[in-house]
Amino acid sequence: MISGTVTIATEICKGCELCIVSCPQDSLGLSPSINHKGFRFAQLVQDNCTGCTNCALVCPDSAITVYRETKSSKRASNPLVASQAA
């Protein structure tokens, strides 16, 4: 399975939980602590993110950035990555 990850702008997040219910992998959960606005914020609670972008699509505050592993075929054709490997 292709792996991915997310970064969440914790000071922007308002803890609406819409990303948590949209995540097919149950990777996200609410933090035990609060941000400066007083909201518990979303965070990764499992390391099984696939980078599907569902959470970012439904986030009303655009707090989520999604990263995904590039496919190996795509990596080979990318001269930057190929030179690193060599």
Partner: protein
């Protein structure tokens, strides 16, 4: 939980540059933020940020010009489509959109809305319908559902006294000036993708000077409905969608 971004990872989704860094003032879970982002994503992807002028309404989204990094103009309550008409007439080569809520577009601005569409002004009208006046404290809007409890209908909306919920999107689809009319939502990733496609289509139609494109977005109001955001989206699916069904309402023959 570690959030390491390894070297072989690429960014697949990030906030568009056409949204400013200003944190949004909307309540947690409000659909406005998603509609703002999707609209700005389309503008960024089409590379038309420098040629686009938006018109902000009065209502929850009154500060849309703080968040959208394109040229914006504020309009008096309900008059966003009239202001957009003026912008369109003066600057015919620009992309023009108006962004309004249901208290703005379907209540005080009904006259302007209908006549703008009837004239077939070459603009995109974005209509965010959450069935309530969110900004002023959850009063009944023309689009509130029958039986819906609001601060001005504490026993529920009685259609015999307060009239029926206004399906303004279906109304204006009857007008010859309306070119593309559709209703979408932002409660699921699929719905967000469909909305993005509709916005893109609308701007492409606008480039071809086809007439008014009107996109309604059925949205939530967790604060006004007195629910959590997740409950509000469930309530919206069960109650709003049967009355305001999603999908294309008027589609040009070229798209069929």
């Amino acid at each position: 939980m570690s959030m390491t971004i390894s070297d072989n990872m690429e960014t697949v989704y990030q906030k568009p540059a056409t949204l400013t860094e200003t944190p949004m003032h909307y309540c947690p879970g409000c659909g406005h933020g998603v509609v703002h982002r999707v609209l700005m994503e389309v503008i960024e992807e089409m590379g038309i940020a420098e040629q686009t002028i938006g018109v902000a309404p009065v209502g929850c989204s009154v500060f849309a010009y703080h968040y959208m990094n394109v040229d914006m103009q504020a309009a008096p309550h309900g008059r966003a489509s009239a202001v957009a008409t003026g912008v369109r007439r003066v600057l015919p080569e620009k992309y023009v959109y108006s962004y309004q809520g249901d208290g703005d577009l379907a209540a005080i601005g009904t006259g302007e809305t209908i006549h703008t569409v009837n004239r077939g002004e070459n603009i995109l009208m974005v209509f965010v319908n959450n069935g309530i006046y969110g900004m002023t404290g959850g009063q009944m809007a023309p689009t509130s559902l029958c039986g819906m409890v609001t601060s001005t209908s504490p026993y529920g909306r009685d259609e015999h006294v307060m009239g029926h919920p206004l399906k303004i999107t279906e109304m204006i689809a009857q007008l010859p000036g309306a070119y593309y009319v559709a209703r979408h939502a932002v409660h699921t990733p699929t719905a967000v993708r469909k909305l993005k496609k509709a916005f893109k289509t609308s701007f492409e139609m606008q480039k071809q000077k086809k007439g008014t494109c009107f996109i309604e977005v059925v949205s939530n109001c967790p604060s006004g409905w007195k629910m959590t955001p997740v409950e509000a989206n469930d309530w919206m699916e069960k109650n709003m969608f049967p009355y305001y069904p999603l999908g294309d309402i008027k589609v040009p023959a070229t798209m069929k």
